[in-house]
């Protein structure tokens, strides 16, 4: 898998969530994802960016256009140096929240994307990486 291009966006305010969303939207439109899949990817990015801001106390996102020999896709990485997640499996459960949302952020984003990876260390931070491949015709 190769990274064809990437852009980095800071996440330190609510306005930044909008910027991340717009960058993600641009890449998904560029790749010609279907409208439903564009909406899913933008929504997942919005959930994860909000997590980075609220739970991670801010951080950054890296939006990548990636390709395999036979397919292309989008990968988005969210990094923060916040308090970390003590119990990842609990955080992935629907309805679990320590913030102001509905507790659907992590689990919901996982369902909306093809691949979902999370690494977290207490007091060091959290990195979430999500990928969606363009379905082949």
């Amino acid at each position: 898998m190769a990274v064809k291009s990437q852009e980095e966006r800071p996440i330190s305010s609510e306005e930044d969530i909008l910027t991340v969303r717009n960058s993600v939207k641009r890449v998904t439109a560029l790749l010609n994802f279907s409208l439903v899949n564009q909406t899913k990817i933008i929504s997942a990015a919005s959930e994860l960016a909000r997590n980075t801001l609220e739970h991670g106390k801010g951080g950054r996102s890296i939006i990548q256009l990636i390709n395999d020999p036979d397919r292309v896709g989008i990968r988005i990485i969210f990094e923060d140096k916040g308090p970390g997640i003590a119990d990842i499996s609990q955080a992935l459960e629907d309805g679990f929240t320590s913030g102001r949302g509905m507790g659907l952020g992590l689990g919901g984003a996982k369902r909306l994307m093809d691949d979902f990876q999370i690494e977290s260390k207490e007091n060091e931070g959290t990195t979430v990486t999500v990928t969606k491949w363009l379905e082949k015709n």
């Binding site: 609510e14 909008l18 929504s43 629907d94 949302g101 509905m102 919901g108 369902r111």
Partner: protein
């Protein structure tokens, strides 16, 4: 500060959400709406989200709160214009928006509001039910 305009048409309030709102705008909208519902004794609230390209769980919670708050203030709320892609996405995300009335278009939404408001004025089926329960 950005504010979302609220239009008053007879007993109905109309809000069109055209930009992705964030925290402050959302809270201001909830406050403005509550105030206007009480001041104008509005019986119906129509929220048009046809211009939104996504609804995440934060926005879902705000929309749910607006519907619940307006109901407490004796005002029915109908959400109109949701894009199909958003309906698919928020279902997968796990947002249920339970208890919120929806309609496909603003026109259908107004008709539904009329029905909801008039049902209360004329029929009072809930009062009858209450009576039956007490017997």
């Amino acid at each position: 500060m950005d504010r979302i305009p609220i239009l008053k048409i007879g007993e109905t309030l109309l809000v069109t959400i055209q930009v992705d709102f964030h925290d402050r705008v959302a809270l201001a909208l909830l406050e403005d709406l509550s105030e206007k519902i009480v001041n104008f004794s509005s019986k119906g609230l129509l929220i048009d989200i046809s211009a939104l390209e996504m609804v995440d769980s934060f926005m879902g919670r705000i929309l749910g709160n607006i519907a619940k708050t307006s109901r407490l203030l004796d005002c029915h709320c109908v959400l109109v214009g949701m894009q199909p892609a958003i309906a698919i996405t928020i279902t997968e995300l796990g947002i249920t928006l339970s208890g919120i009335h929806t309609a496909l278009t603003a026109e259908d939404g107004l008709a539904l509001l009329n029905k909801l408001v008039n049902a209360k004025k004329n029929g009072k089926p809930s009062a009858k039910k209450q009576e039956a329960k007490w017997r």
